[in-house]
Symmetry: C2
Subunit: 474 residues, 2 copies
Amino acid sequence: MNAPTHASHVLPAVVQRITPPALIDALKERFGERCSTALAVREHHGKDESSFTVPPPSAVVFAESTADVAAAVKLAAQYKTPVIPFGVGSSLEGHLLAIQGGISIDVSRMNHVLRVNAEDLTVTVQPGVTRKAVNEAVKSEGLFFPIDPGADASIGGMCATRASGTNAVRYGTMRENVLALEIVTASGEVIRTGTRAKKSSAGYDLTRLMVGSEGTLGVMTEITLRLYPLPEAISAAVCSFSSIEAAVRTTIQIIQMGIPIARVELIDVNSVRMVNAYSKLSLAESPMLLMEFHGSPNSVKEQAELVQEIASEHGGTSFDWATTPEARTKLWTARHNTYFAGVQSKPGCRVISTDTCVPISRLADCLLESVAEADASGIPYFLVGHVGDGNFHFGYLIDPNNPQERETAEALNDTLVARALRLEGTCTGEHGVGLHKMDFLKTETGLGAVNMMRTIKHALDPDNIMNPGKIFSW
Amino acid sequence: MNAPTHASHVLPAVVQRITPPALIDALKERFGERCSTALAVREHHGKDESSFTVPPPSAVVFAESTADVAAAVKLAAQYKTPVIPFGVGSSLEGHLLAIQGGISIDVSRMNHVLRVNAEDLTVTVQPGVTRKAVNEAVKSEGLFFPIDPGADASIGGMCATRASGTNAVRYGTMRENVLALEIVTASGEVIRTGTRAKKSSAGYDLTRLMVGSEGTLGVMTEITLRLYPLPEAISAAVCSFSSIEAAVRTTIQIIQMGIPIARVELIDVNSVRMVNAYSKLSLAESPMLLMEFHGSPNSVKEQAELVQEIASEHGGTSFDWATTPEARTKLWTARHNTYFAGVQSKPGCRVISTDTCVPISRLADCLLESVAEADASGIPYFLVGHVGDGNFHFGYLIDPNNPQERETAEALNDTLVARALRLEGTCTGEHGVGLHKMDFLKTETGLGAVNMMRTIKHALDPDNIMNPGKIFSW
């Protein structure tokens, strides 16, 4: 990687700590074949969907229980060696990279749905359960878990990054939908952060402190989530617009009117072309909104009619309905495949993904200027957005072997983040800080808040072994 | 107060720290007449709606700006002297009591609505603004702030206790509705915890850590809240039942069916009698549900019809509608006056208020046994509940000069809390821990979680000056 000038993609200068052979021995003794030092296994656990490359962890422990995680962390603590939890590896921000060395704790075998409490609309799962598996487990009860970041991420990973996605405009994010956690702390102790009560004022909100802490304060071993009754009626639609601006202005009006839309996603014309090629579709090549409405049949009809009215005021055309589950699945699969469609459109490329989120009234300003800059740059990109929340992603498609492309993409992101912060927004709506946004975080919150985070980290993890080097420097 | 046997109402043994005269001098120099040591002023700031009596603070500072709060905290920090923020004094759990001495920082003059961002559905206020004042400020924009704990509490106080109340079943609690805070830390530094973006994954969730921290981690000086469009249609109704059980089973079914009811409040027959006497009403003397529906006219009609069906299956009768704003105000004023009606029903009494919250499927079990115990005890009480959230309050009316009554009431509460915890609930749904529930918190979360809270407190407030002695012992 060439020496870059933009702070946001410089990997922080850190010392790789040496993993003591005695720790590996102790882990092998405790875990047998479930502790692997095979290069292929380590390499698989030493990368994610970010564009960074660092050496892999020294070993991978496949945990199957809370006791396993606690034992692994205790041993690591004894040798002051980093531990990095691993779910399915879908992080976009370098969260999983062993930037200071250490061991990876793979929780993908902790994939049991422990308790479905249908009457209370809660489910308790292990961290390796994926969001699709949660939905499989609860659908026979007429329930669903709405948080949908696209990838079939692990629930543990989604907690760690405070994930959200396409349904958040109506159902909130992981912040609003995690009721309680079981955590293995930096000393290997097992604690619980809450009960199954829907609300509580019982002391500090440790649940919310852990959600979004990116593995830096503890490893989640059990997660209680809120569920929702499957809507009586669901209806989805696609609407094309002559410009991104028209689509965005439609969205702003939907939100300001308080219409309880369940999903409202923007995809730009680049994305449409890539998805058409990847998924063999023939969507009209124009910016479009993908929408979904949940409720009683009457309420869904009412919402849809209101939205159609708003859309047509902004020139929206060809409102196509997908009322069958199959048609809806096809639609959302196409949306979720944008990322992979983008990757496939430029062989060998990596994606640099932006994640700004702004107050809804600022969305058009933030988006349109950034689109103009991206178009002018010559870097191929796709643009998708959870626009109902003011959150959108450019995926800049760069050749990892071409430093100039990376440089250009990062410069675009820097400008975009600076713009979002000026508009009272955030550098990351849902992907997390990881390695990629540490400098942005300082600008966004100011040093005072970062120092408070750092003070908490120092107090709860004094040897800096929990996913060190992420979010902020030690 | 007689020596009690129940841990929950023993004031923790703490040493009153001496407020150094030099600190009082320095505060008087900085604040002039806005620093008061008059006994009447101190006594007003040394009590709340709890049943505890302790010596008042040594001085009261009337802050008018963030700079004032920062200056007061800096001086207090210099002399390692406790500071206790004060809003309107409506805490039920002893949060405002100067149990270790120190000074009260009254923020009631920080009562400005700083920015209404109607297009983004946000408002930024100072901490002394009350919830009714927020609603006054935003109603001309067609917006409202739904969190309604009954009392016209300050927004700062509502943040500090993670308050909720009658609308939480639909709109969530302060946890879900605070976007960002400005905080004065224990060293007197001013920090910001977030932006106006609707969601964010930018580092630790300091906003949620502060919400519910009861003044023990910092003083809130600016608060950004979420707003909602005023519903197109609102309709409220009262329904009488032959038993509490029938009312509770109706509620459980409403929630499990996912009907987006905006309010569903239980009041028992004792409360009805007290409210009738206090508010000169003639409500039928039976347990009842007070309900409110928000939405489009069609959706409100649909919700109400469904609920009527469910209620009549459980023998609910005389479904009375309040469709005009005046009729609704009368209804909710009656509900909110239950507390004062209870106090007036027994002259000279104090209220010991319970606050358990359980998963909705456990609500009937938790409530009915506790009602039987309260009836058997001979202590007069009222019972009200935000039953849609599984949260309810007994108000035991005790003679503060009769140790036996206090003892009996606390024993009832002890039994109730133990039952709620067995049913996977919490000791406090919305009032906070304060002085009254410190032992319950340990039982509820386990020592591991309390120790994590303590570690955070020690790190962020090493001299223990921020509202010391609340939530947990040092």
